[in-house]
Every structure is written in structure tokens, then in C-alpha cells.
Amino acid sequence: MKKPKKNRNVGIIGVGQTIYSSHREDVNQAEMVHEAVALALKDAGLTRDDIDCVVHGNMELFEMVHQPDIWHTIATGAYGKSAFRLTTGGTTGTTVVCAADNLVASGLYDIVVAIGFEKLQEGHTTGGITNMADPLWGRHLQTGALTDATAQAMIREFGEERALRAAMRMRVQMDKHACLNPNSHRSFGLDYSQIDDLMKNSPRLVGELRLIHMCSQSDGACAVIFAGEEKAKKLSDKPVWVRDHITVHREETFTMYSLDPADRDPSSHRIAAQRLFERNGITNPVEYFDVFEMYDPSAWWGLDWLRDFMLLDGDEHLKMVENDEILIGGKMVMNPSGGVVAANPIGATAIVRVAEAALQVRGDAGRHQAPGGVRHALASGFGGTYWTVLVMLEKDLDWQEVSADG
């Protein structure tokens, strides 16, 4: 897959996030979105007038507002400007990032703000997700976003004890990170000593997918400001460069299960990672990336997907968790923010991954900053029935382009 050609480099120059919580009844949608936009503008040292274009997104059916971008015009600063609305399911947050990057890279706009938001308490999340399945067949059978197929597959592959323990260890690790992030919706203060207890006693949702493994339903918004290289260097002391991004769609709902694991197609995560890393000349992603902000809706998926995204084999991903290599201070820090299990305002969730990765590269993540200078970061989005977006961020504009055919 050829790398898309950019007319110019694009840098992230501003990040704004609301706090994430179970309900924000103190503000309406537009006011909540404005909080994030105002914080991003402040972070970038800009005003609304400096923005050329707005890209806005959230989940399509969760609050049942047909075109919330129209209602939110005064909150986003889109009044009288170019504005786009995008909605691609759980990947929405990364899709608005890709769009903003493309719009700036093309030369059409100098400064673009990408916005993702969700107020899950205002609608019906399971109803919305169930309506994502096709209305002719799957809608009747869909059970929201809950599944334990991954847990069962991992138990078959690694044995019950090891798989259950590794998934719960990752859950505790994510919570340790969440406790350092002041924006977290859920930070419990879990400890490794609770692993055995939670493995047995946390209530089951589906099979071995237990309540503690699963992400929350949150309210919140996030805005990220992108600028062309020239302006980014002028406006920001430490722009974070968007090196590349990739989107992969598959029809995995239909081809996810078989008696022989060898029959299974590679996941959209692995295909996205393979293509992205190949065209950027990255052969060992665990060595290359300092931080990975993954869209991890549950600890089981977080654990399983680490193998796909980092192109690992066998039990290498389990070892990374068992040896605390994904903890802040570890070899390749995963979700220093606490990840999606810590906060999940779905339409914002994926852009939060990019925003947090950018803060890590800038060194501005505060208490949950990974030490040692973050130079290369990866962020993922996940949505629909297995769609993947990956975004690569860099501290320096020093990467070598792989040949055009690469």
C-alpha cells in the first residue's frame, strides 16, 4: 500500500479535553463541546478567528440528534466557516483527526480544529450500538458491544489461569494509569493484590467478560488543532507532527469465528499495523514507539489487540503485560492516560487517544507523563464491527521517507 502523498507536513498545535464523567447535566451538548474547543484554543494561544475549518464528529444514534454540528455551530466556532461532520462509529474520533490532517496537508486550509464529543447519558448506548448491525438480520441478534469470544480464544490458546490473570493484570495496570489522570471518569485505585479476587468475583457480563474488564459510558469532549508546517512552527514551541495515518475496513463480523484458528482472517488491526509500519520502514514497533494510546474497550481486547498492533507472535503480548513493560516507565508504555476502560465518551474516545499521545510527545501529560522523552507515539481507533484507524505522531520532522513503492 503506497503512502499517501502530503503536500506539506502537518503539526498538532493545540489540545483541549473536558473532564470525563458519568454525567454532565450541568452543561448542554454545545456548552460541553465549547469547553474542549476553548481549552484547545487556549493551549494553542489562538482565538476562534484563527481557525479556518472545523471537523466535528460523534456517534450517529447515541443521542438521536440528526446534525448536532448545526446546533453546536456557536460552540465549535464554525459560524461562517468551512465545516464538516463525520461519523464512522467508534473510529469517529480518529476519522476527524485523519480528515483534519488531510485538509491541512492538501493545502486547502492552514488551521483546522478536529472535535469529538459524546453525552452518552442523554441517549441509549446499547440501543445505538445495536442499531449499527444491519437491520435485515444482525440487529435482532446484536447484544450491544459485549462479547467474550476474545476471552474464550485466549483461554484456549494460553490456558485459563494465565489468560485470566494477564487480562486482569492489564486491567489493574490501566487503572494505575487512570489514577494519575485528572480527567479520568473511572479510577478505582486497584492493586495487583486484588487480581485473584476480581478474576473470581467481578460479576460476569458475558462469559469471562466481567464488569471490571469493560469500559464505562462517559460524557465528554476533546478538540485538537492542526496546522501546516510553516504556521505550526511559527505558532507553537513544540508542534507534534502527524507522520502518517491509515484506515482499514473489513467485514469481520461475518468471518470472525472458526473451529481452526488458522482459518481466521488477520484482523483489521494487524493489517492496518502491517501496512502502516511497512510503508514507514518500521520493522520493530515495540522498539520504535515510546507510547501507544490504544482504543481498548475492554481489558480482554486491550490484551489481545496488543499482539496485533505491535505485530507480536505467540505470547509476547502476555509477557509485556506480565513483566509490566506497558506501565509508565516500562519499555513501551500503553495508555498512560488509563485508556478507554478509564473513560469512554465514545465519539470523543478515539480523538482522546491522539490528544493524549500528542501530550506525551510534547512532555505535557503531567502526572501520567511517560519518562525519558517520548519521541514516537501511536494512537488507534476502533469501531463498527472491526474497523481500525492508526495515527503516527513524531516529536521531530526527521523521519526518512520510504521509497514511493514501499
Binding site: 441478534l141 447484544t143 478505582f188 464488569l211 473451529l259
Partner: protein, 386 residues
């Protein structure tokens, strides 16, 4: 005894039996053991049987036989009890542990009215006293009703509002033949009147119970002017608007899906075949997504097959198509029907009675609905071939 959130664990259990609602406890036979750990903790046993509740302090280490055991620390226990700590979060994070029958825990808020720490400020009794001045005779025309207020807990009591010929008469106690009866904790009643507690939330949580003539219950809010607390400083009112969208939809199936659905009417399951890679698609799709070519050939597969994936759902999610909460556990599965290979699986339900017997690899067969219309429901579920 250590106090948290203005109450001790002892306070809560001392009022436990007084907060019991016998009318909601019919058929309940349970012993709930409370192991409240740490400073201010202790052990209690609450027995609900024959529409009676008995709360006892357990002095030894042995609870005896129990249906359900709840273990948590005193601060969490009181915090959750008075609503200062989110019960779901405490449970999710393992700070509250539950052993044994979980159903009784969901039932507890119905069996006992909510504990409220000693009240400061307006009481339910104070609000009841304002009924005559707030009564709107014009709204009561033609209404002949006895409305009961059963408000348990401190500051509460039992009253009957008798409305007849456009007049209101307040009586102590609950009349024999109530038109409508409302049962709610005194503290919750105050919160409802002050707009701090949403009536639908209170009903949904089992904290407010309205029985009797629902048509009369519906007009109750109109009978009285809104209660306005006196000399209470009020912040800006935050209004939440409630909306329900309910629309009928119709979706065209198209010829490919239509052929498949037509097959179900005749108890046949059709897959379509990619002419390039040969894979079977279930349900059929217009083209093979991988090869991007039209998949025109249909083949009959199954109806029996082998289970490849079973999901046992414990989460009582509402079915968004009906609004009804699904009975749990229920099972969905992916089945490799005879004639299919690899990942060519079929998605459907598993018979509830077979859920814990089936495994990956079990042979299953469809159970067809008597009346078939060309929909997913033409197959009721798959059952185990025994």
C-alpha cells in the same frame, strides 16, 4: 462507633426493620449476611421470610446459613446506603463483594425503604401540612378519591388525602379503600417534592411505589400547586428535558437477502457462493467483499451444524427493538452449518435450556417457528442434538 456521611453502621441496621415493606416481600425467603469490615464495622444478619424482616447483630464469627453475603468496609457501606458513593462503581472495583444469590441484592431497594441520616431542614410532615393551602379545587372537579401517602422513616407518617366535591380533607393514617396509594421513604418524598429526585427514576429504582387507579394517579400532580420551600436558598435550576423517539421503520431486503429470507419460510437455509474464491456467505451478500465479484449461485446448507462460538450473556440489557429487558442468561452463537467451511458461520440464538450443556463442537439444529414470515425469527433458536 465510627461515623461516615453523618451515620454509623449501627444507625442503618437499627432502622432496618422499620424500613421494611411487607407488601413487596411476598414470596421472598432470604437471609442476607452483612460483613462490614474495618473501623465502625460489624456483622449483621437480615432475614426476610413470610413477609417479615428480622435484623440481628451477629456476635460470633459464624453467620449461619445465608442466601447472600455482602462484604464491604464501613465507609463504603454507609456511603452507598446514603447515596454518597456510587454503588455500581464500588461493586465494579471490588470494594463491595457479593456472594451467593445476586437477585436478592437487586431486590433489596424494594424490600426496604432507603435509609436517610437524621434530617436537617424540611420534613415530609412539613410538606404534607402545606396540602390544604396548595390544593387547587378547580383541578379536582368531579374527582372522588382517597389518596394514601405512606411515608416511612424519620419525619414521615401515614396520611390520606380525601378529595370529594372539589374539597380536600386530610386524615391521619391510611384509609381502608384507597383509590391510589403511594409508598416512599420520607426523605425520598421530600427530595421528590423539591425536584431533587426524578419520579421516574424513583419508580424505576423501586423507591417510589404507586398502586391503585393509575388514571387518578396521573392527575395527582395537577391537584396541588408546586411545593415551594420557604426561606431556602436555591441555586439556579438545572432543567433536564425528557424525550422519547419511537418511529416505525421499513427496510427493503433486496433480491439477494430476499431469496435467503424466502428460503427460511420453507425451512431452508441458503448461502450464496463466490464464483472466484468459492466461499459461502451467510446471510448472503450481493458480492464477495474479498473478491469484489457478484455471488449469484445459491446453495442450501445445514440445517444442522456445529457450534463454533457461544456467548452466554448475563448482562440484562434492554432489547432496543421491544424495550423489554432480556431475561438472562441468554445465549447467542455462531454455527458452522453442514456444507460450510472455515469462517462461514451463521449467527443465531441458542436454546436457553441448552446453554450450559453446549460447547464448541456440539451439534445443533434449528427449531423452526410455527408461523414463518421471512425473518430472523423464523428460526426460534438452535438446540442441541442429543
Amino acid at each position: 462507633m465510627a461515623e461516615f456521611f453523618g451515620a454509623t453502621v449501627e444507625d442503618v441496621f437499627k432502622t432496618q426493620d422499620a424500613r421494611f415493606r411487607a407488601e413487596d416481600a411476598k414470596g421472598v425467603d432470604a437471609v442476607v449476611a452483612y460483613d462490614i469490615t474495618g473501623e465502625g464495622g460489624g456483622r449483621w444478619r437480615v432475614t426476610v421470610r413470610d413477609s417479615r424482616a428480622v435484623t440481628e447483630k451477629v456476635t460470633g464469627s459464624d453467620f449461619g446459613a445465608f442466601t447472600t453475603k455482602i462484604t464491604t468496609d464501613a465507609e463504603t457501606f454507609i456511603g452507598v446506603t446514603v447515596g454518597k458513593i456510587d454503588g455500581t462503581a464500588a461493586f465494579t472495583s471490588g470494594r463491595v463483594k457479593i456472594e451467593g444469590d445476586m437477585k436478592i441484592v437487586a431486590l433489596l431497594p424494594r424490600l426496604f425503604t432507603k435509609y436517610s441520616p437524621p434530617s436537617r431542614g424540611v420534613s415530609a410532615r412539613d410538606i404534607i401540612a402545606t396540602f390544604p393551602e396548595r390544593f387547587r379545587p378547580e383541578a379536582a372537579k368531579g374527582l372522588d378519591a382517597a389518596i394514601g401517602y405512606n411515608l416511612a422513616g424519620e419525619g414521615g407518617g401515614q396520611w390520606t388525602a380525601v378529595v370529594k366535591d372539589g374539597r380536600l380533607e386530610m386524615r391521619e393514617g391510611l384509609a381502608e379503600n384507597l383509590t391510589v396509594n403511594q409508598t416512599v421513604g420520607a426523605r425520598d418524598y421530600v427530595d421528590l417534592m423539591l425536584g431533587k429526585l426524578d419520579p421516574m427514576v424513583a419508580i424505576g429504582a423501586g423507591r417510589l411505589r404507586i398502586t391503585g387507579d393509575m388514571e387518578v394517579a396521573k392527575v395527582l400532580p395537577k391537584l396541588f400547586r408546586k411545593y415551594e420551600p420557604k426561606e431556602v436558598e436555591r441555586g439556579p435550576e438545572l432543567i433536564v428535558l425528557k424525550k422519547t423517539i419511537s418511529v416505525g421503520m421499513r427496510f427493503s431486503t433486496g433480491p439477494v437477502m430476499g431469496r435467503f429470507l424466502e428460503g427460511l419460510k420453507g425451512r431452508k437455509i441458503f448461502a450464496n457462493v463466490c464464483p472466484s474464491c468459492g466461499r459461502r456467505q451467510l446471510p448472503p451478500r450481493e458480492v464477495c467483499a474479498v473478491c469484489r465479484c457478484r455471488a449469484g449461485e445459491f446453495v442450501e446448507v445445514g440445517p444442522e451444524g456445529v457450534l463454533v462460538n457461544v456467548e452466554i450473556c448475563y448482562y440484562a440489557s434492554p432489547d432496543p427493538l421491544t424495550g423489554e429487558t432480556r431475561e438472562t442468561p441468554y445465549g447467542t452463537s455462531n454455527i458452522l452449518l453442514d456444507g460450510c467451511r472455515g469462517t462461514e458461520t451463521f449467527w443465531h440464538y441458542i436454546k436457553r435450556e441448552d446453554l450450559f450443556d453446549v460447547k464448541r463442537g456440539s451439534r445443533v439444529r434449528p427449531v423452526w417457528a410455527e408461523s414463518r414470515t421471512g425473518s430472523v425469527h423464523d428460526i426460534k433458536y438452535f438446540e442441541m442434538v442429543r
